[in-house]
Symmetry: C2
């Protein structure tokens, strides 16, 4: 029983450190303080290092966890009654993730886009496909569009604005334009 | 008179080499053959080198010439009777240029986007502004969109697709989606 309790304790620490790390990385990017993460999680620095031996290991775990969150979110949203706002909400989440992930990219790899690289786009595309299909089926999104189109547009927008003064505002604005198109709204 | 004739000859050679180089670079990218350029232009390799001492100098001149062409094209299109197709045609030209220019970027600089870098975006933005204003004035484009939005969208799309098997087709498709928006076309 003691061994089980130790393992259970370690599992809980791991989850808590990861949750805190996600928030810290979202706020401060790849340079988030490991000491601050340990303090907020209520564990010692040695415990953080036992679970995540290097900063890179921690950042990879955070990145993986956020992709998993996006995947589950797409599944939840597929049950929403109105598929178009559900799809747009997911794209906004993907945009947020990509903006942070681009910041992590230099710490994790050679500047390649972390969504398009390493199969993330495939995983996310598969996850959001039912939601897009539902929106198309409801006549709320043009049948021409694929999940690859949507993910590529978000990735491109994020890449194009990452050196701007306010990437989040710029990217959100551009995604809004791409979603609405260039034509003026028709008056009814 | 002899001195004038020599200068006139040099000017014509310069223009001819540059025109041939544009076509070769468009077809083969930054690795276009300088020997082939000399042959097609009907001059010797030494003449090419006198006008463009290094490959980099030639590529810079080609890039500058193409920006200038885009600038003049925007001016011409501002006089077109129907501003929306004129604007879309210019965006397609910008997309073509950006796709080639991305290929030139590693040869010219440190992977920065050649349209957004070095004031190109500002020059092009100023050039296309009257055309966009006319399209907005005619109610053919939403008043919310700025030239910076359009250029940034094109740049982002090009960055996102540059490693795909067919970047031109992908980029054209994504620009079409961004122009049309995600809603299905309204039936009339």
């Amino acid at each position: 029983m003691k061994e089980f309790a130790v393992r259970e304790d370690a599992r809980r620490n791991h989850a808590r450190i990861l949750a805190v790390a996600q928030a810290e990385v979202a706020a401060h990017g790849a340079t988030a303080s490991l000491e601050q993460i340990a303090r907020t999680a209520g564990v010692g620095s040695a415990t953080v290092r036992r679970h995540f031996p290097t900063r890179r290991a921690l950042l990879e775990a955070v990145s993986h966890e956020r992709i998993e969150t996006l995947r589950l979110r797409a599944q939840d949203l597929a049950a929403a009654p109105d598929p178009r706002p559900a799809l747009l909400s997911w794209l906004a989440d993907l945009l947020d993730y990509s903006l942070t992930a681009r910041g992590l990219a230099p710490a994790l790899a050679e500047g390649t886009d972390p969504v398009q690289a390493s199969g993330c786009a495939a995983v996310l595309g598969e996850a959001v496909n039912p939601l897009l299909a539902k929106a198309i089926g409801a006549g709320a999104v043009t049948a021409e569009v694929t999940v690859t189109d949507l993910i590529t547009l978000v990735v491109g927008i994020v890449m194009a604005v990452e050196h701007r003064a306010d990437p989040v505002a710029e990217a959100t604005r551009l995604l809004g334009i791409a979603v609405a198109g260039l034509s003026p709204p028709t008056r009814t």
